[in-house]
């Protein structure tokens, strides 16, 4: 055999803040590769012919190409390859579940650790962000067609960017006072710095997208009024922003938050900087977060950083069924979050002023698999016990806000409140209206919403040019 350079089967480690330090600040946990680290990691890619990674990516990023350009030190080449199919790489590099997508199918993964695609994506995006002389993005000549996009989260931003590049005139409506949707109100600063999100929003604006904040479509103009007012097509990407509660006794006590409220106060309104910022959040000692997904992990880790002494995750199934990314569970554990698994809340107990003081729980055991394929949690009779708490965060998931569906005749919705749209195109049953992201799928991931936005943009473009 010829002397082939041996491939390093281990990936370059991501530098991170130490758990005991990061648990008390809101700075980003992972601090990012240096150029040397990034080039070394990129050098591990064998540039295989299969390109499984590209197929594994919901927006089909040119992964081998950007990794090769990075390896060779051609940074602008890497940026161009990366951004050809992804307008928000700084975000995706941080919050995509790469371990179940591009990296999961990486050829190297059969022998050792797959290429750290997400970390490299983040590195390239951050490098570009730091450059002062960014080249002007290429935009096709104006088509004279107008598209309104409702919601500036990952789905809306992606659709807006793709359609703007194709020469359409885009207005992006956002209900909140900043653009970014869940990227701003939901995902915490220590996982996705808000400066990164705004950098990517700014990029979308450089494509000519007119972003209108503080605009609640359905309350100001309705979808039908927008269509009558000269828009040729509309994309709905309003997400799944309605919190679910448990419906248990005592749930309206003070100190009980939905995860949406807890995270919105903390992230969007910057309550962690109170009183410099005006929005307060309770300083807690003992916090219980109910739920086992990424939002639960985010809430628990925020609580820790806000100064809580003890933070618990209460989840009714076992560790194996935790829906959160393994990496987030690990981060939470390192930071001292205590997992109370196979535990379910029964009721909340308060003091004479209406503040929660205790939560009564039940122990659970796992039975036969249910419809979701996971083993069904069953109550252990008589297993009631009390936990002392001063704050409870309910992180059980979210459903779409009914505002658009209820003010838009002709849209089809499901029992769960999601809007019915074709998977391949995002087309709804209503003429000239497309939809995608959590509004259609129910709460899912940033990248799946971006994928839906991309497909809808292609379909809208074809329709407008048809």
């Amino acid at each position: 055999m010829a002397d082939k350079p041996k491939i390093n089967l281990n990936r370059i480690k991501m530098p991170k803040q130490e758990p005991e330090i990061r648990a008390h600040n809101f700075d980003e946990v992972a601090t990012g590769y240096t150029l040397e680290m990034a080039k070394e990691e990129a050098g591990r890619c064998i540039q295989c012919k299969k390109r499984n990674c590209v197929a594994g990516c919901p927006v089909n990023v040119n992964i081998p190409e950007f990794v090769m350009a990075l390896r060779d030190g051609d940074m602008w080449g890497a940026v161009d390859q990366l951004k050809a199919n992804n307008a928000l790489p700084g975000i995706c590099g941080r919050v995509c579940p790469q371990e179940s997508q591009c990296e999961f199918v990486c050829t190297l993964g059969k022998k050792g650790a797959p290429i750290a695609i997400g970390r490299l994506e983040r590195f390239v995006a951050d490098w570009e962000c730091d450059q002062s002389d960014k080249p002007k993005p290429q935009i096709a000549p104006s088509t004279g067609k107008k598209v309104a996009i409702v919601g500036s989260g990952p789905a809306g931003l992606t659709t807006a960017a793709d359609l703007a590049k194709l020469g359409h005139q885009i207005t992006l409506f956002e209900a909140l006072h900043v653009a970014g949707g869940v990227l701003m109100y939901g995902i915490p600063e220590f996982r996705l710095p808000k400066g990164i999100v705004q950098g990517e929003v700014d990029y979308v604006k450089t494509l000519g997208v007119d972003v209108r904040l503080n605009s609640v479509i359905g309350k100001i103009d309705t979808i039908d009024e927008l269509l009558a007012d000269s828009y040729d097509a509309i994309f709905l990407g309003t997400g799944a922003g309605l919190p679910m509660f448990l419906g248990l006794p005592g749930e309206n006590l003070n100190g009980i938050y939905s995860a949406n409220e807890y995270l919105t106060r903390t992230n969007l309104m910057k309550a962690y900087l109170f009183p410099e910022y005006d929005t307060p959040i309770k300083k807690s000692r003992r916090v219980v977060v109910i739920g086992g997904g990424n939002v639960a992990m985010d809430s628990a880790r925020c609580a820790m950083r806000l100064g809580a002494e003890e933070v618990y995750i209460v989840y009714r199934r076992s560790r194996e069924e935790l829906p959160a990314r393994a990496e987030e569970v690990e981060n939470a554990e390192e930071e001292g979050i205590i997992f109370k698994l196979l535990t379910n809340p029964k009721r909340f107990i308060g003091d004479e002023n209406g503040w929660v003081t205790q939560m009564e729980c039940l122990e659970m055991e796992l039975g036969e698999p249910d419809d979701s394929g996971r083993r069904r949690p069953i109550v252990k009779e008589g297993s009631e016990f009390l936990i002392d708490v001063d704050t409870v965060v309910v992180a059980l998931g979210t459903t779409p806000n009914p505002l658009i569906p209820s003010t838009t005749p002709g849209l089809d919705t499901t029992r769960k409140g999601t809007v019915v749209a074709e998977e391949e195109t995002g087309k709804t049953v209503k003429d000239k209206v497309w939809a995608g992201g959590d509004l259609v799928t129910g709460a899912a991931t940033v990248i799946s919403a971006m994928g839906a936005g991309k497909r809808a943009a292609a379909a809208i473009d074809a329709y407008l040019k048809g």
Binding site: G241, F245, N252, N260, M269, G354
Partner: protein, 283 residues
């Protein structure tokens, strides 16, 4: 940014701003509210709409200086701008023709009652209004409420103007004297709305209140404003702000309104200190 087109001081502590917001003005209806942010670091807080001018593209808000945010807002002049102004939110007050309606206004909420009474009058109702203030110096808009009412009773807590009474006294008398009252709308401080509700309950007259809990986003996203209505939990921002007063759990509402008393005090202290040292004046 949203420009303050006009400012009026209704009393030393109660102010009226006309805000340039054409998209909101176009759709605003009586009983709806807006969410405001004074500046980039400000909190999001709700104010019920006091009026609108669709041609001018303006929306009127009336507020009383209470905490840091409202004091900060009160420092602004005509020509200044506020950071965010979102609306019109919530479900408009139902203004069907039911016959005779009693409108009860407490304190600065008079500003909110006027457009509601106007809409009810336009629908053909007979309007009997009761307005209550702590004292004469805090009173405003007697003329405006009078204009939209067939009958107006004014009371003050200390008797410095009108009748010396709480609003519940004349309310009870009206219900005793007028068997044809079909609806009572009571808007004001929570404690006033609670007692107005208790007053009307024995008469079995439908009573609507406009609730004012703490909110963050105002669009159904956070659940901060949830209240117990009968056996259900409702979000005031999307299910209200109007509710059947006899179904409201007032204790839950009042407890939740006090969630951030300590933090509010911290904010006010810092603000007063800032005003003294940086702005050379009183807060």
């Amino acid at each position: 940014m949203y420009k303050i087109m006009h400012r009026e001081d209704l009393t030393p502590q109660i102010h009226l701003f006309e805000i340039e917001a054409p998209a909101v003005a176009k759709k605003a209806q009586a009983g709806q509210f807006v969410i405001l942010m004074v500046d980039e670091k400000g909190e999001r807080f709700p104010l019920t709409i006091g009026g609108w001018d669709r041609e001018k593209g303006s929306v009127t808000i009336v507020f009383m200086e209470v905490g840091k945010t409202t004091r900060k807002l009160a420092k602004l002049k005509a020509g200044d701008s506020i950071h965010a102004f979102i609306g019109p939110l919530g479900i408009p007050t139902h203004t069907d023709n039911v016959g005779t309606v009693v409108c009860v206004a407490g304190g600065f909420a008079t500003a909110i009652v006027v457009p509601v009474a106007q809409a009810l009058k336009d629908a053909g109702n007979k309007i009997i209004s009761v307005m209550g203030f702590r004292n004469k110096d805090l009173m405003f808009w007697e003329d405006k409420l009078k204009e939209v009412s067939d009958e107006l009773i004014i009371c003050t807590d200390d008797g410095s103007y009108g009748r010396k009474a709480l609003v519940t006294e004349p309310l009870k008398e009206i219900l005793e004297a007028n068997k044809d009252v079909k609806l009572v709308i009571a808007i004001g401080p929570t404690i006033m709305m609670k007692f107005a509700s208790l007053t009307t309950q024995p008469f079995g007259v439908k009573t609507l209140v406009s609730l004012n809990p703490i909110m963050v986003d105002g669009t159904g996203m956070c659940g901060c404003c949830r209240v117990a209505i009968g056996d259900d939990t409702k979000f005031v921002c999307v299910d209200g702000p109007d509710f059947d007063a006899h179904q409201v759990d007032w204790d839950v509402l009042m407890a939740r309104q006090k969630s951030y008393c300590d933090e509010e005090k911290t904010s006010v202290d810092i603000w007063e200190d800032y005003c003294r040292t940086q702005m050379g004046g009183k807060a």
